[in-house]
Amino acid sequence: MCLGIPMKIISIDGTDVVAEVDGVKRSASLMILDEVVGLGDYVVVHAGFAISKLDEADALETLELMREAFPVENYS
């Protein structure tokens, strides 16, 4: 039930946004979000509400560290 999907904001109208992932669009409310978001930002959407802004820099850093530590050629 706690599933939340990272979706990219593609339009904003006050506290309502439309967010998209893999071609699927959903409207979401920013009512309970405590961070400022803009077009192109990723938010985690749960039950029609954005609950958190996704920190892309953190995500990329994690992936980079992991790919360095575990290169594909060693684990395929």
Binding site: M1, R26, S29, M31, V44, S52, L54, S76
Partner: protein, 363 residues
Amino acid sequence: MNYMDEFRDRSIVLGLAERIKELAAGRPEPMTFMEVCGTHTMAIYQYGLRSLLPDGVRLISGPGCPVCVTPNGYIDRAIALSRLPDTIITTFGDMVRVPGSTSSLMEERARGADVRIVYSPLDAVSIAEKNAGKRVVFLGVGFETTAPAIAGSILTAASKGLVNYSVLAAHKTIPLPMEILSSDPELSIDGYICPAHVSAIIGAEAYMPLAEKLGVPCVVTGFEPVDVMQGVEMLVRQVVEKRSSVEIQYGRVVKWEGNRKAQAILAEVFSVCDSEWRGIGVIPGSGLEIAEKFAAFDAEKTIPVTVEEPREHLGCLCGDILKGKRSPFDCPLFATVCMPESPVGACMVSSEGTCAAAYKYGR
């Protein structure tokens, strides 16, 4: 990039599995980690992550599926409400098939009750707007991830002046049962894979008592396979280094302090109450009920209804499974009498129940 596929990278998962094996090698005692979120349970089964872990690292599932820990009495009340005239029950999909003491919402719908599955509680508010002559009740079940969304629907209904929208609230909060389970000598939990999106709301700081007072390592972990394996690796490392602290693996979404605005909305709309957990019993201070200020939106207070005496299902091991004491394979009903199409217990109904996950992926 969609920030999901990248965290399903096979080579990273295998690399982490190897590192876990190295770290755990030569440990005299096996380590047991509990995941307390149904979405983790699902991911662990779906990606076969247990099979990648060495014998010395064991994962068990805890009370992390909100539908599963909701006692029969709640379902029975929802069923009783659905039988009232001019009443529309709105709910997330999982609740519809959960068997109550003698019926389910699905059976009631077949008999003519108006039971509607919605994606968001805001959809339920829209239904209330369009059906002024009827009362619309939303079944407010879920942990801290979901409770702010329900609170948001109540605030929205209040701002629109709606008088026909209410919530039957049975929200539960996660940290207290974790503290209770970690004190259970039968379980001996060496660490927690802490929930991902619950923590986005309450923050990693909520697990400080567990790590500091009870000495249990806690790692807030995301839902993708790379996340889970890295979370387990961080837990193994804490055990090996004899540390117990709160760490965040899922830093791209979870902050130490969580989502303060959602926390404030929760505090405004709900008050803390005692709550009954299936399998565990009543845990003081582990539930959220609608605050006095919003009593007009509380279906339990505003809609009087007679509810049948709740009965548990004989032979069903859901209670012990929710505590991590038994596995679905220990239950005589599992995959014989109790199946996804004809569930006996809630753990088989919810898509993220331990039995449903074991049935779909674990056999």
